[in-house]
């Protein structure tokens, strides 16, 4: 049986040490980490030149509580999104993301939720 192709993942998170850790976990799962942004604005700018299969988004970013707005922006463009946050209650108010990966991120939870991205991508 052939392995499914790796997913190209982008991460919107303003703590570079969390990005460092999650990036390594994504690569360990066999996916491709294509980059990160610290704010909604930076994400929009960077995604212009990138081809992605899914985006992970924190709730609180460098430009404020803009994660939900970022997820809505991605949703409008048909890009599947996961929230990655310790604030599940806020994440649950927004149906623009497929699911929420809880912080601190575990490899198991991440793997399971990334599978949802793949299913959504079809």
């Amino acid at each position: 049986m052939e392995d499914p192709p790796p997913l190209r993942i982008f991460y919107v998170e303003d703590n570079p040490l969390i990005v460092f850790h999650v990036e390594a976990m994504i690569e360990d799962l066999g996916h491709v980490f294509v980059g990160s942004a610290a704010s909604f604005g930076e994400m929009v700018e960077m995604l212009r030149d990138l081809d992605v299969d899914g985006v992970l988004v924190d709730i609180d970013l460098a430009d404020g509580r803009t994660g939900p707005a970022a997820a809505a922006w991605l949703h409008e463009r048909g890009i599947p999104t996961l929230f990655v946050t310790g604030q599940e209650l806020i994440a649950a108010e927004h149906l623009t993301a497929l699911a929420t990966v809880r912080k601190p991120v575990s490899a198991f939870d991440l793997a399971e939720k990334l599978q949802l991205l793949r299913d959504d991508r079809g």
Binding site: D14, P16, V19, M46
Partner: protein, 344 residues
Amino acid sequence: MAANHGSLDWVLALAPYRRDADYLETLLSEHGIPVRRAEGMREIVAQLEESPGLFIATHEALNPDVIDVVRRHLLDQPDWSEMPLLILLDRAAPQARVRAELTAAWPRSRQIYYQRPVTTLELLSGVQSALLARLRQRDVRDHIAREVELRRELNHRVKNILASVTSIFEMTRRGAASLDHFAEDFAGRLTALANVHSALFQSGGEPMDLAQVVDLTFKPYRAGEQDRILTQGPAVTLHQEAATTLALCFHELATNALKYGALSRPEGRVSLSWGISSETPVLTIRWVESGGPPTSQPARTGYGTRYLRSALRNLFGAPPDILFRPEGLHCTISGPLSRAALKH
């Protein structure tokens, strides 16, 4: 609630007799105190909801319904609030009884009683002192709001720092050959994070210069051997995130040099220099080791290399250039100055 903030506080007046109401309104308005009148229960309830600075009522205004509405308003007050109530009684009124009744009906309130006819001076000073007390209450309200905000911010920061520590822990654990190695590397990384955090805190929100970040990182390695690490570069003001990231990168480079590179031998040297190109300013930082044992590309990518690549791509949009040359490690960090410098 914020509607009254900064503006003059206002008085809610309940006086069924037009003459009384006009008198109050004229007198207070002349002294710059806005007055709103309320007639009918719905209007009274609506005005109370806007949190008056002072409630004035003549005795005849206080029918059982009004007393009850005020009572409910007082019971619903937030902790900081104790609305002052000024009651104008008639000479003929059973004063002791009225006071006893209202004190029982209105808990947590500051009540002031006057007997009509009241002199202008008396009434004005009573009103002003009550409004001043109310102003203090609103100050307390603002302090509470600020404290709530600070606590939220503190919570956010603590969570963030714990998340940083968790990441360092997990990533250090991956590459650790033994518990001793793990403990040493983990402690070193936490100390580097703590040092830059302290420096940023002590600067009290002031921006940090790249040279300060460099000094901070190399202080432990410079005891008595100042000239082994040569640092040079122009003033570059960094924002907090950039200062933290660069401090942690320098820590990784320094500990690597100490274990395997130039600083593992007495004759080894490190040159750390930085500069800014003039057009569309690009910051370039060069770490060059020499005089150490010959280096070669390690078989597996360690924490340091991985961290530098991730964090610097995050900061500058491009990973650093890390070369394991026979004469020593070269690392070139380069990216738009605007992404690391404090925005003005």
